[in-house]
């Protein structure tokens, strides 16, 4: 006996909420930005995006995002491994600490860095100049995007039974070989997804890099700082064009990563021999 679903207005209300929510929050700004950019045709957009300062800011943003992703992929993997596989006193504390970048405002992150590494900071004699410099911007970018790889990899790693590795050991595989051949393939989706999120986060970062970098045009000005400054300078087309560029790049990364994430083992349907 199957009950006939009762039609009420509730589902429609929920659908309406979704449409309005998505429409207002996602679509409306998108339309505004695109129409704003192309107000005077495509020529000003092309000019705005190929302006020397715009290109420099994009290059800096890429450098920061990609370098931070590589660093966080490697370090994140190690941290996830240690947090999942090892027991040590204060582990819960470090586990909670990983989420810190999610809850601390990036502006505060930048400011704390200046307090620490600035001219009168506690660590002012640090061998690398971090305050108002490129390395400092990289450090804050790494910091704000730190949790993604860790949080994506940890559950996959935890679900991976120790026995798979032990099976490899009994077959003569070294620890490194076991990691490379057994563990890594199993967690690579987590790593890739973590990298995508890290890239997206790093591309969009504003507050922390603005504070620590000082926003010097052509030197420490990232694409987002460029957008902010362009709005300030009444260069709306420049700001909108850069916003669209960043958006297109982000979507492009998502598409590429989705293509990478496809797993050949997921292509075929589940097929179990009926003779068993």
């Amino acid at each position: 006996m199957r009950e006939k679903p009762v039609r009420t207005f509730w589902p429609w209300l929920l659908i309406a909420v979704v449409v309005v929510y998505a429409g207002l929050l996602l679509l409306a700004p998108l339309v505004a930005v695109i129409s704003g950019a192309f107000e005077d045709g495509i020529q000003p957009v092309l000019e705005a995006i190929t302006a020397a300062e715009a290109l420099l800011s994009l290059r800096l943003t890429f450098f920061l995002a990609i370098t931070a992703s590589v660093i966080n992929a490697i370090l994140g993997l190690i941290v996830a491994w240690v947090l999942v596989r090892h027991r040590f006193p204060g582990k819960w504390f470090f586990n909670a600490l990983v989420d810190l970048p999610f809850v601390v405002s990036p502006v505060i992150v930048g400011y704390v860095m200046i307090v620490l590494f600035g001219r009168t900071g506690w660590l002012q004699n640090f061998p690398i100049q971090l305050a108002f410099s490129l390395p400092g911007m990289l450090v804050v970018t790494v910091f704000v995007s730190l949790p993604f790889v860790i949080r994506e990899v940890m559950p996959v790693l935890a679900s991976l039974t120790r026995e798979q590795e032990e099976a490899a050991f009994t077959l003569g595989a070294s620890s490194w070989m076991t990691f490379y051949r057994i563990v890594f393939p199993a967690i690579r989706h987590g790593i890739i997804y973590g990298i995508v999120l890290t890239l997206a986060r790093a591309l969009g970062e504003f507050g922390a890099v603005a504070v620590i970098g000082g926003g010097v045009q052509g030197v420490t000005e990232t694409a987002t700082i460029y957008i902010y400054r362009s709005l300030h300078d009444r260069n709306d087309i420049g700001a909108y064009s850069m916003a669209i560029t960043l958006g297109v790049i982000s979507v492009g990364i998502l598409v590429v990563m989705n293509w990478l994430r496809r797993d050949p083992s997921e292509k075929g349907s589940q097929h179990v021999d009926p003779t068993e």
Binding site: Q164, A167, F169, T170, L171, A173, S174, P185, E276
Partner: protein, 353 residues
Amino acid sequence: MSILLNKVSKKYGAQNIVREFSLEIESGELFVLLGPSGSGKSTLLRMIAGLTPQDTGEIYLNDRNVTALSPQKRGIGFVFQNYSLFQHMTAAQNIAFGLEILRVPKAERDERVHELLGLIGMADLGNRMPSQLSGGQQQRVAVARALAQRPEVLLLDEPFGALDVKIRAQLRQNLRDIQQRLNVTAILVTHDQDEAFELADRIGVIDGGELLEVGTPYQLYRKPQHRFTATFLGSVNLLAAERNGTTIHLGDKRLPAPPQTDHLAGQSVEMMLRPESVEIALTPENLEGHLLGSGIVESIAFAGVLERVAIRVQDWEQTVHALVNPDKARELNIRPGDHVYVGVRDFHLLPLN
């Protein structure tokens, strides 16, 4: 001697998991380590494989002291309870993995994989991913993977534990065939007595981390040395008695002592009666074996090929279970509440402690 364990011990904190465990296993033997869960049998197996370090004791594989060696260097094959196949590799790739580690040339490797797939009856399924295989198929791939490097010793940790009863029986036979064909020494850990009986050349009974006794399935079933073995291997009736000289005193009944129990002379003992050795009759004269007493039928239950009858024996206020063949049961035509005589054809003695 293929496998030799000398006083191997393991503690977790204050708890003894395995206690001074010594064992010798012959080459080509299939040895079943049988014990309840938590008895330390899996830990012992993992220590043999080198996956869990032992606290004290030595382990020899083919006269080679492997006590300090890593699992990579012990030359063993290991089959895990949940198979632990590499999920991102096909069945064939799983089997080939160990050969790749040994840098076996590709042609030879492919040949060996093909041969093993044939051995487990999965010649056409080498390209399947583990997720596309049934539980039984995965289990066979796990066995083939463990055998790929031609290990001296094959270790299996509850290899049938996650399978249906029906598939289990089939795969047991399959495993026994493969083991004998390759003549590989194997230790199989299980808590299932049927599995142990069916597969084992010899069984070692382990409880509380200690090896209680070792013997053939028949010895352990019929003539165990320990009460634990008696009760763990099938159901059993245990009756308190005295052995005086060559006579057993059971209440006012006198029975001749069975052979090989002289060491229990003059002691309080327990008579061990397997239910299939217990007989029921309406009159004492109709019993073939020794009369134990009379009692009231408590219940009769269908138990497959036999019927299980529980009788409350009046003389010593204890319930005795008997397995009776259905023809006999029909002939007796008994019902719960009926008065019957209980006898025993064959029994064994256990020390009372």
